[in-house]
Amino acid sequence: MDLHMTRRRFLQCGAAGLAASCLPGPAWAASIVAPGQFRRGGMVYRPLGKTGLNVSLLAFGSHTDQAYKLPGGIRNILSAEGQARRDRQISKAIDLGVNLIDVYEHEGQWEPLAKLVKGKRDQLLISGAYDNPEFIGANIDRLARLYGGHIDLYRVRSETVTFNTSSLLDQWDIVRRAKEAGKIRAIGIACHMENTMLSALQELDGLEFLMLPYNFIHAKADYSQFLPAAARSGLGLIGMKPLAAGSIVGLDPRLNAATKSENSRFMLFNSTPGSRAILPAVVEELARSLNQLPDESLPQAALRYVYSKPFLSCTLTGMFDDRFVEDNHAALTRYDQMSREEHSALDAARRLTSLTGAGWLPTEYQWLEEQWRA
């Protein structure tokens, strides 16, 4: 062995050796699919674009359980029981390696989460967004004060086709200034239309991440112009609605009736009066496919579809039940390529939903079908 080497070679070998010593074992080497991805414990982490932040592939969404909200009042507050449930679920997720927690202002979770994560703030990434754009600056300041001087991810949101409107650019300017002042670590945008995304790449200076809807049914971005452009600019991508706002949970007949999704008002398998007519042949095909997955639910396969996309840094999903937290995490532990059976099940579910139009989604999420059906 030649022990004479250049300084560069020495540093390269040293860095490689150091990195190798940090990995749990060679078994994971074959699992790495996204550049910079690594696994610690049962959780997979990926770099969020060029931000220098590593985010857990499974992230905790901001929506809270409607069933536990206090009636009336102007704030969107959970009951004591609902808050205790949510705190328990977040704690469980953190224990399982989730390091990104989203807190949307509307959900009234800023203070409870700040209290919950006190003492482990430096291990977590907190992602926030505002409710009223007129107060975006004050909103960022309040978040930063609550979370130890800074918020990790902050986003503006857009419902418009293009970003070239003065109001949105105003908001972006305020967010950029807050980042320059050290109150935010990474700035981004949440948007639901591809035109907006392309526009954001053109118009938003300093854009670091983008949140987009993405699930196995609404995966239009797979063949859009946007993904190559995003890759060129080193943008971090976060998938939202990996379970179509919970509606995918309702497609799996085997799930325990007690397991309640975010939006489970439309169950394809309940022929309740007023609901859309079930299409027996297609439903049967889905049921047959799912029988080929004895230890995996349809939502788990749906999540694994999203996890398998290397261009996504992580996926944000609402979790209202301890079991969802465990199931969503469990889908990560089997990190082989997706099987043929899983693809068959997803294809059957895709066919079923296409035959029912947008009706399998709750009214407020039917735009997903219009904008994002692949």
Binding site: F10, E105, H106, A178, E180, A181
Partner: protein, 476 residues
Amino acid sequence: MARLKFPLWVWVLICLAPLPLPAQPGQRQELTSAGVCARCHVSSTLEWGISMHSTISEGARQPSCTGCHGPSAGHVMDEENGIKPDRIPRGADIAALCVECHGSGCPHTADLQNCQNCHHPHALVNPQLDPAALEEHAKQLTAQQDAYKSQLAEGERLALLQRWDAAGEAFRAALKENPASSRAGEALQMCERRLKPGIPGFQIAGDRFDAPSGLPREIVLEGLNLEMMLVPAGSFEFGSEQHPDTRPVHSVYIAPFYLGKFEMTQGQWTSLMSTNPSFHQGEKFPQAGKLPVEQVSWEDCQKMLAEVNKKSPGGGFRLPTEAEWEYAARAGSTEPLPANQLLRFAWLRDNSEPANPVAPPMRSSMYLIGSGVISAPHPVGAAEPNQWGLYDMLGNVSEWCSSLFQPYPYAADDGREAAAGPGMRVLRGANFSDAADAADAALRHPERPDRRFRWNGVRLAFTPPAPGQRATPSQK
């Protein structure tokens, strides 16, 4: 450079070696003056240390490493020496640098192109002279230097007595002995200015003058009623270690210039451009004429500058560079203002609720922030001025600078002050919608030159003309 190959244990030892120690008391002055260059180029630094160049400390004109070789930021950062310094002058290129200061050429031969033939490029001594001739040459130089110092001291004594004519003569005599002396040159300019203090197109306000430059402290542009304060010459520590875009902190020299006492108002903009682009105007803002103009882009400001330069004799109006802006905002202070004092000097979100507040549209889930009112700018000059008499530097509206947004270290001649060219331009200063922690004189905000926001405004800068000259826009 050839790659070095050493046995593995040598590299390990190198890695384990302690980091370089900071400069120690008693360290040779030239090593300190040469800064980071001295870490590798020790012999060149020591050569430079025996030259007269290393003893000159007159503001920005010290002929140091970067003076001839450029800032060479890439070279400094590249430990493998793959990136060369910005300039490695050889032959006649060396002489071209010499004549930048020694414009009349060699005092013996008047040669302008062959300095390097007799003078070592760093040490300056002529290695070809025999010892006796060298000693004779040294005697001549010493006598010349003594005469220069004597005339300079006499000039300064007379200047203290405000005998500007006689002081000017003494400085002229000093310049004859040492034509490259910027100190004598600037003192002579000062005397000439004190003899004829007026600036074409301006009225002098008050009777205070800046001692080193002889320029009036405060002037008013006739016609536009634009009040400007003199920002005195000096060096300061530019930047801050607090933010990624403001590192590294480095020393920058600023020549004297005038800066608007106030941000440009909507009234002033309208009288120049016949339009008012500001968001905050109309019935809800009866004092709009005194509010700072806002919603102007960098490109709009260039059009305005062209207009004001056309209307004022000699022109000379421009935007401040970002270095000038920060120097003026700091006003000689090295520490930021304490939070409890800041609101006396700056209109920020916490103290910028308008007189006739407009409540924003409410949403059922909205959290009320403070009083729930959207902030707005205030009439210029309503808060307290800083130490140099400049108002609203840290608040009210952010202000456009001339500079392109480029990484530090700052060098005015590295292209970032180009009047045209692609890239973002720098905005400085917090505004009425910012929190107090954004009121940091060092913070930089890049923006596209065509973007307009309701919190971005402008403050004019003006380059004073040399004595006996009219201002020109290109002067700096």
